[in-house]
């Protein structure tokens, strides 16, 4: 009996010690999109280096999850590449602000043995493949856009997201704009009823599945294709050019929207007009309550956002994201002033 008492006392002592050591740190939790996960993860790590007492723990569970968890307040902030719709905003217990952080691109990534050249795709072509109408790599539609490339007669395995995803939203938002059949048959949302294909979890899951499945075609945020060294195709934009995702082509996509940014920053820039524009680009947003209960966390979050909009932006190009246009940053700094920090 005595040994039991002693062990319990020792355990309690250890727990108290550990608890005490942790008491000083401010731990904040956020969850959501996998689209910006690489840069958020870099940002939170860098910010923690400069502010060791603030730990921002971000979990990439998909944009759908980010919206859900922030609405239920199980996390302090959410992140999504799909703006919340009126219904979702209404359902939240308080006003939620959309704060853009970076610009990114969704690219068609593929795994065809012996084909390492960059393939050209058009919007309607991608829609037909994802509708399940085009099933083989050597289909006439693909061959027409890619003369001189020997395409195998094998099946195309479409890889999509199994979870609620803003990346999916960006992708299908684009497909709906270029394919009326997609718009009516499948629609636009973070999670859709996919006509065909295999599901992967998060951008990581899709990239992983494509990498391991010969004949696969999926869609991922640019950095995932770059970091896993997988070939990705160029997509035909509204001006008819075949544009490859890059910092320049993505910045170009946001140019028009930046001039007419709505005050709540909720805007879609897929299939944007103009030359040198990559058609499957998007803003990504942090979702933050305007009047959160925990003011200490709100203060820390606002401070972090200001850092992200200034110093943070320089990490973007290395990771394949485009920095926000200066106009947008100015508007956003003003919007951050609205967040109640006391």
């Amino acid at each position: 009996m005595k040994t039991v008492h002693n062990t319990l006392a020792a355990l309690a002592g250890v727990l108290l010690l550990i608890g005490g050591a942790n008491a000083q740190k401010l731990q904040m939790n956020g969850a959501g999109a996998t689209f910006p996960y690489p840069i958020y993860s870099k940002w939170f790590s860098e910010y923690n280096k400069q502010h060791p007492d603030v730990q921002i723990n971000y979990q990439p569970i998909g944009s759908g999850g980010g919206v859900q968890q922030v609405s239920k307040q199980t996390v302090f902030f959410g992140a999504s590449d799909m703006p919340m719709n009126a219904e979702q905003l209404q359902a939240a217990p308080g006003k939620i602000l959309h704060l853009p952080t970076v610009l990114g691109a969704v690219v068609p990534v593929y795994n065809i043995p012996n084909v390492t050249t960059e393939l050209k795709f058009s919007g309607p072509l991608l829609a037909d493949i994802f509708l399940g109408k085009i099933t083989k790599w050597n289909d006439a539609g693909i061959a027409k856009l890619n003369p001189g490339v020997t395409l195998p007669a094998s099946d195309i395995t479409v890889v999509h997201r199994a979870d609620g995803s803003g990346t999916t939203y960006i992708w299908v938002d684009y497909l709906a704009k270029v394919s009326p059949e997609w718009k009516t048959k499948v629609g636009v949302n973070a999670s859709v009823n996919w006509p065909t294909g295999v599901g992967g979890r998060g951008n990581e899951g899709v990239a992983s599945t494509v990498k391991q499945t010969p004949g696969a075609l999926g869609y991922v945020e640019l950095i995932y294709a770059l970091q896993t060294k997988q070939p990705y195709g160029s997509v035909q934009n509204m001006a008819g050019e075949f544009s490859k995702a890059s910092v320049e082509s993505v910045t170009g996509a946001a140019a028009a929207a930046a001039k007419q940014m709505p005050p709540d920053f909720r805007v879609s820039i897929t299939n944007a007009p103009g030359n040198g524009v990559y058609p499957i680009s998007s803003f990504t947003w942090i979702l933050l309550y305007e009047n959160a209960k925990d003011k200490a966390q709100a203060r820390a979050m606002v401070d972090f956002m200001k850092w992200a909009l200034t110093d943070g932006q320089k990490f973007a190009p290395d990771l394949g994201y485009a920095p926000l246009p200066a106009d947008v940053i100015k508007l956003e700094m003003a919007a951050l002033g609205k967040v109640k920090t006391s």
Binding site: I61, G64, G65, N189, N193, T209
Partner: protein, 312 residues
């Protein structure tokens, strides 16, 4: 003295009550959380094939199908092997080998599901893909083998489930065989039976218990999550094809639960959890009933009467 006794009984009984309460709580909480979906879809939830979060159409049929299909396939593969192991260890095995073999089967059961899943993604799925690609075209015409050879799909899921269920069914079957009275086997051998025939008699005697053991394995397969979700392809489609990526109830919960973006979606997912709870409840209760009834019959077999020995 009496009061102290009562105190002890109540004190310990209260915690037993906690256990019972937890089981009821699970059923109650799951039902409450899925109310939104139950009210909207009613019984058609179980028959609708469409799982469309965009339009708010939710039907659990693809998941029920995937769960049942993968578990039944797993049973078909694992049952003969599990029974073979049970028979070998309890009847045929030399005594020295018994302990190590039991230990090894326990080890198979103790390996975490996530480790099986990891092995599944990087070892099993490529192997299955190679197997599927090498299948002769003539067989590809059958609905069981239609579709592109992805590796990820029903076959990989069934195989991994079978591997995980084998040690479970075999250890319960072993327990069941142990409870077969020795008189049964002795009678068989006395009548000149071969090894096989004597064991067959024992198996026949224990048949309800054996079925119970197999059903317990079935119940285990129904609820298996991690290993399956990593190899099944995560596509909500009803398909006979072993090659097709499909979905199970447990897998969709793991993938979509934290990400359900609205309350109806969440309720629909919780309802799937409720369905899974009810199905495993029924399967497990039934199997325990079978095992219990078999062990009762076993103890009712009269002991052989010792012939009177003359003390001469």
């Amino acid at each position: 003295m009496r009061r102290k006794e009562l105190g002890f009984q109540m004190g310990t009984g209260v915690l037993g009550l906690v256990l019972v309460a937890i089981v009821f709580a699970i059923g109650a909480v799951l039902t409450k959380q899925s109310m939104l979906s139950i009210e909207k879809f009613g019984l058609s939830f179980w028959r609708t094939e469409v799982w469309d979060p965009v339009s708010g159409e939710f039907g659990a049929l693809p998941f029920i199908w995937g769960t049942l299909y993968s578990s039944i396939l797993a049973l078909l593969i694992s049952t003969p092997i599990a029974l073979g192991i049970a028979v070998f260890i309890s009847e045929l095995c030399p005594a020295r080998l018994r302990q190590p073999l039991v230990f090894l089967t326990e080890l198979l059961a103790a390996i975490p599901s996530i480790v099986y899943g990891l092995w599944g993604i990087f070892v099993l799925v490529p192997a299955v893909r190679a197997l599927e690609t090498s299948l002769p075209d003539a067989l590809r015409q059958l609905p069981f083998f239609s579709g592109p050879p992805l590796g990820l799909g029903m076959l990989s899921a069934a195989l991994i489930l079978a591997i995980m269920v084998i040690p479970f069914s075999s250890s319960v079957a072993r327990e069941v065989l142990k409870s077969v009275p020795a008189a049964q086997r002795e009678a068989a051998y006395a009548l000149g039976a071969t090894r096989f025939e004597a064991i067959r008699a024992a198996l026949f005697f224990a048949r309800t218990g054996i079925i119970g053991a197999i059903m317990l394995g079935f119940g285990r397969a129904l609820g298996e999550t991690m290993a399956v979700t990593m190899v099944i392809g995560n596509n909500p489609r009803v398909s006979l094809s072993l090659f097709a990526p499909q979905y199970t109830m447990a897998a969709v919960l793991a993938n979509e639960f934290t990400e359900a973006a609205d309350d109806l979606y969440l309720a629909a997912l919780t309802e799937i959890g409720l369905v899974l709870f009810i199905i495993t409840l029924i399967v497990n209760s039934l199997s325990r009933l079978l095992i219990w009834s078999m062990s009762r019959t076993a103890t009712q077999v009269p002991e052989p009467v010792e012939p009177a020995v003359d003390a001469a």
